[in-house]
């Protein structure tokens, strides 16, 4: 009754604690190139889809009369719509190049292994496209004729 059991040895003393990681465990997908290309593909695709709906409707005005078409297109020739066109071309470029990357991943045996490298190739090509398009387009939009 009065005998006192020896205090049990603390398990922490004998079992080493797992080393604390400095960084969270790496993942193959989450937060990496694969996830962001997927997110960007969805966002750009959705934006392009809604533009396409409006674009078919406004272009259909050519069938009604020259005045109707020119009146609507005239409202597009503003700096804000010019910036919108820049964003549209940027979205289309990203969606197009990343779409080709998806095709390469699906079709070729080396595709899945090269998907990260191809993502950066997509970004590189996209920047080249924008360097070619944006300055010239903005000069047209903001510089008049």
């Amino acid at each position: 009754m009065t005998s006192q059991a020896a205090p049990p040895e603390s398990p922490a003393a004998s079992v080493p604690l797992p080393k604390k990681r400095k960084l969270p465990a790496g993942t193959l997908y989450r937060g990496r190139e694969g996830m962001w290309s997927w997110v960007l593909h969805r966002i750009t695709g959705t934006a392009i889809f809604f533009f396409l709906l409006v674009h078919i409707l406004d272009t259909s005005l050519i069938r009604i009369s020259p005045e109707a078409y020119d009146a609507v297109i005239g409202t597009y020739k503003t700096p804000i719509m010019g910036l919108g066109e820049t964003a549209l071309v940027a979205a289309i470029g990203l969606h197009a190049f990343n779409g080709l990357r998806i095709i390469f991943i699906d079709l070729f045996s080396w595709g899945p292994r090269a998907q990260k490298a191809m993502f950066w190739v997509v970004i590189g090509l996209w920047i080249v496209l924008l360097i070619g398009f944006v300055p010239r387009h903005l000069m047209v939009v903001f510089g008049g004729e």
Binding site: I48, F49, V89, A96
Partner: protein, 150 residues
């Protein structure tokens, strides 16, 4: 209530499954096939309309009418219309299936389908019945084409 109709694990696929038209498979193929064509068609469209003329303000009725006086551009635009709109609709179908549920999902899918059909019909009618000579133009080359057609 019996389990007799359930196939044992790893049974071969039922033969009727193999022969059925698999819309998801053909959708997958369509996205890739149309995607490759759209890269060419869309960049050609953008280049001709935005870069080639040298200025944005060229984009008016006379410019579009001048383009559509050439049958090549009618075919180009018809291909763009059908390939891009079905590509976009199929992509939006994927998003709806991912993010919407229940009756809201059904509603969105019907709205998407109806929008797609209406715009395909509208765009096709506009491109195939367009008369580039309905309006006056100060484009001499274009006016000559219309005068010759009359």
């Amino acid at each position: 209530m019996s389990t007799q109709n359930i196939a044992a694990p790893r049974s071969p696929h039922l033969s009727h499954r193999k022969r059925r038209f698999n819309i998801e498979k053909w959708g997958w193929i369509y996205m890739r096939a149309s995607g490759v064509l759209l890269v060419v068609l869309v960049f050609g469209h953008l280049f001709y309309n935005l870069i080639f003329p040298g200025k944005v303000s060229i984009l008016d009725w006379a410019f579009v009418a001048g383009k559509l006086a050439d049958p090549i551009w009618i075919v180009w635009d018809l291909l763009l219309l059908w390939l891009a709109l079905i590509h976009g609709s199929n992509g939006m179908r994927t998003l709806i299936n991912d993010y919407a549920h229940g009756r809201f999902r059904t509603l969105l899918l019907w709205a998407l389908g109806a929008t797609t059909v209406v715009l395909l019909v509208l765009g096709t009618l506009v491109l195939t019945t367009f008369d580039p000579c309905i309006g006056g133009t100060d484009n001499a080359e274009f006016a000559a084409i219309c005068a010759a057609a009359q």
